[in-house]
Amino acid sequence: MRVNTTVNIGGLVLKNPVMTASGTFGYGLEFEEYVNLNKLGAIVVKGIALNPVKGNKPQRLVETPAGIMNAIGLQNVGVEAFISEKLPLLKKYSTPVIANIYGTDVDGYIKVAQRLNDSATAAVEINISCPNVKKGGLQFASDKDAIATMMNGIKKVFTRPVIVKLSPNTGNIEEMAQVCEDNGADAVSLINTLVGLSINLKTRRPNIANVFGGLSGPAIKPVALAMVHKVSKKIKIPIIGIGGIMNTTDALEFIVAGASAVQIGTANFVDPSITGIIADGIKSYLDDNGINSITELTGTLEY
């Protein structure tokens, strides 16, 4: 049987539902020797801003039970360097490149998207888990008005699919997803990291220089699955499931919960070949279970 693993994310057709999660796959090139990048559904690169950002003081990462916490501080090369230095190197692969973007205010987001419109970027993924400097550091993540304004602005300047990456640090992720859908988002991805704190008892200081960090990895998988499933009951645009996916089974669980595609994050650090392995694994699963298309599995959770 020839199984069909392609998925359609708001017009962007991926050969399979396996994407990389932003910030865990560098600019893709770091993984060339571990995985055939052509095997992936899409490559989502490290978050990009208008200007280069130096990032936080180290220590930037710490391990927690079945997870890690990071506060990289969105270190990045800036949109110009991304377009001129990084993107060309990914041209030789057939895999679409999705730019994860962020800004310190609504305008910042729109400008990055605008600049990316004239590049080979297949889609943008908007990281709203950032403080809005103009609003005194309030998170965009729970600010419906800001998101609506941003979406409208971005849709005007960026002509390909716009994905909004939702934050789990809110009591109403379903409503936030709804706001995205209502304002023209082509898909949502979830979840970003959970706010966490790790302490060194000996020094009575945080283990991470930035104090708080973002929790990811297997520890958060149940939270991510719950949010993906809840959001899938609320909206109709495709959902990209993220959070603690370590293997094929985990990836398929997200799809059963309601995701059309998945992103693999922390697992890349444990096994840099894992994305390719999961892409193959999904194909085998369909084969073994006589399922013609991965889309038949999306949202099949029963109760």
Binding site: G26, E30, G55, P58, Q59, E63, I72, N268, V270, P272
Partner: protein, 255 residues
């Protein structure tokens, strides 16, 4: 590179110190200061790999020396002969050695488990018949890493309690052997690197390279977590220890 080896031995050699030898399938080509990133657990706790400098890489064998610190190294110490160990590497750059320069004095300093990486360097220099002065320091004799192997390389020891070699710090030995135009290579705890820097920064004819450690997420340059500031205090960039390092010119590192 994704790689794996089988435990040949994994023996205790001092206070919490172990020497692990892995047999690998192909001849393992590595350079001093490079490290491998080892999967220590087969559950998700601990989740991350653990980085260890290469102590030696001869033919199809690869040696590490490590200290049990927490859960990850404890699990590593429980590996038995024949167990498979999955690792990634070798990773990182190496100590810059100018083999054409035959006169500058080469001084190699190891502190704590940083001794692993300098052992590899000294051994390579010995093979290429280049002379060097090797120093290893620790709190006491029981914390000296791979004493036998270091003795073979003509190492000068410094212990805080005087239980082996000079009583004092590696810097006490360094001061005695330091010469103009010397090139220093070191790996060890940050206070040691800082102390050596304080001595060398007054002498602009002396070069000082150190292999740095940092908390690592991926070990392959993807997560930008293992960074150290390179440049000057108010104008630096963060560079990745696992990729641009582990070896940096210490005069360029903001520590």
């Amino acid at each position: 590179m994704k790689n794996s080896g089988k435990v040949v031995f994994n023996k205790k050699t001092g206070e919490g110190l172990y020497h692990l030898r892995l047999a690998v399938k192909k001849r393992f080509k590595a350079k001093p200061a490079q490290f491998i990133n080892v999967k220590v657990s087969d559950t998700v706790v601990p989740l991350l790999r653990r980085p260890f400098s290469i102590f030696s890489a001869e033919k199809k064998e690869l040696d590490l020396v490590y200290k049990v610190i927490g859960e990850g190294t404890r699990l590593l110490s429980e590996k038995k002969k024949g167990d498979a160990v999955d690792f990634i590497g070798p990773q990182g750059n190496t100590y810059p050695v100018d083999l054409k320069d035959k006169k500058s004095k080469l001084i190699i300093i190891g502190g704590g488990t940083g001794a692993a990486s300098v052992h590899f360097l000294a051994n390579e220099l010995k093979k290429s018949k280049r002379k060097f002065t090797l120093i290893q320091g620790a709190r006491n004799k029981r914390l000296i890493v791979a004493e036998k192997e270091f003795k073979k390389l003509g190492c000068l020891f410094a212990t805080e309690d005087g239980s082996l070699g000079t009583r004092g710090y590696v810097t006490d030995v360094l001061k005695k052997v330091l010469e103009p135009n010397a090139v220093i290579y070191a790996c060890g705890p940050e206070p040691m690197i800082k102390a050596v820097k304080r001595i060398t920064e007054k002498m602009d004819d002396v070069k000082f390279y150190a292999s740095f450690e940092a908390y690592m997420g991926c070990g392959i340059g993807a997560c930008i977590s293992c960074v150290i500031p390179v440049g000057v205090a108010d104008n630096f960039v963060y560079k990745r220890v696992c990729k641009e390092g582990t070896v940096f010119d210490v005069s360029e590192v903001v520590i």
